[in-house]
């Protein structure tokens, strides 16, 4: 997150946020990673690789060890981790606004990022409290 904050002046097709596909079509790579790939089509190719990896994983995971809890609990525990990661990223956008010179039009976004990071933290906490500890762990 330490790139030149100035907008680029060029005409190539840059990183494009994904179309509103189903979540399973972008199940593997975080968009907050893919946006670094500014070469045309690079992020789209990685999303395709993600679909392939996800399908292969679903094909193979039947042979792998069972979760120590139900699939619903395991899914929500994973969502907690992703929410905490999102909390960290949004806090970092806010920090960038505080510590470095962002364009004036971005200052409100940086300021709001702190609020959204708190929302992510609150949702993570709410799920975590509903889940309790993993069976067998204290």
């Amino acid at each position: 997150m330490k790139r030149d904050p100035r907008p680029a002046t060029r005409t190539e097709e840059p990183y494009q946020p994904p179309a509103p596909f189903s979540w399973e079509e972008r199940a593997v790579f975080r968009e907050t990673f893919l946006y670094n790939f500014t070469q045309p089509e690079a992020a789209a190719v990685l999303r395709q690789v993600g679909v392939l990896l996800y399908d292969m994983t679903l094909g193979a995971c039947g042979e792998w060890p069972e979760w120590p809890e139900s699939s619903t609990s395991a899914e929500l525990r994973a969502a907690v981790v992703d929410l905490l990661q999102m909390q960290g990223l949004l806090s970092s956008v806010w920090e960038d606004g505080e510590l470095s010179a962002v364009p004036p039009e971005d200052a409100p976004l940086c300021h709001q990022a702190l609020d959204w990071s708190r929302v992510a933290a609150r949702l993570a906490r709410e799920i975590d409290e509903a889940l309790g500890p993993i069976l067998g762990e204290v």
């Binding site: 997150m1 330490k2 790139r3 904050p5 907008p7 680029a8 060029r10 190539e12 840059p14 990183y15 946020p17 979540w23 199940a27 593997v28 790579f29 975080r30 968009e31 907050t32 990673f33 946006y35 670094n36 500014t38 070469q39 045309p40 993600g50 990896l53 996800y54 994983t57 995971c61 060890p65 069972e66 979760w67 120590p68 139900s70 619903t72 395991a74 929500l76 994973a78 969502a79 907690v80 981790v81 992703d82 905490l84 990661q85 999102m86 960290g88 949004l90 806090s91 956008v93 364009p103 971005d106 409100p108 976004l109 959204w116 990071s117 708190r118 929302v119 799920i127 509903a130 889940l131």
Partner: protein
């Protein structure tokens, strides 16, 4: 062009150096307890860059011990490489803050969809009461994530923002 050799015998493998133990034949482990599944890590949000590449909602399927950890390490390596090598790549069409927020928005939409899917599990399959409760929680939180994501979208589009839900 040399003549083709009609009969070819593969060379014998080199003799094993003395002192090395023989390679044991591959056998199914007997009487060993089943492998314990790897579970998602507990992360400190300040260390978000250590988990920058793969979604945990994907890594959760990699239950054999070591698999998910290996991909997290690959992710850390990829993220470091990206930050070192993006210089010759095209710049973004808007500021880094706006691009980061667009990416965060896409990730929130992913989580919104994921949780909505967990929220539908209670309708599509028979869950025990505890999981049915968790499924309800997921459906509710999916709506709250939608609310937050809509707020970011409005802000990026330049429309007046509503107060984010639940901010203290």
């Amino acid at each position: 062009m040399p003549d083709l050799i009609q009969q070819f015998t593969a060379p014998a493998p080199p003799p094993m150096p003395p002192g090395l133990p023989p390679i044991p034949p591959e056998t199914e482990p007997k009487g060993e307890p089943p492998l314990a599944a790897a579970t998602p890590p507990t992360i400190d949000p300040r260390a978000w860059e250590d988990f920058a590449v793969f979604r945990e909602t994907f890594l959760m399927y990699l239950t054999p011990p070591g698999y998910a950890a290996a991909l997290r390490t690959v992710g850390e390596m990829l993220h470091t490489m990206i930050l070192e090598s993006y210089n010759p790549w095209p710049g973004w069409p808007e500021s880094s803050t706006r691009t980061e927020m667009r990416a965060a928005l896409a990730d929130l939409r992913h989580l919104q969809g994921f949780l909505a899917s967990v929220g539908r599990e209670k309708e599509l399959s028979s869950l025990d009461p505890e999981d049915a409760y968790l499924s309800n929680v997921a459906a509710k939180l999916s709506r709250q994530i939608k609310h937050a994501a809509d707020g970011i979208e409005r802000e990026l589009d330049g429309a007046p923002a509503a107060e984010p839900e639940g901010v203290r």
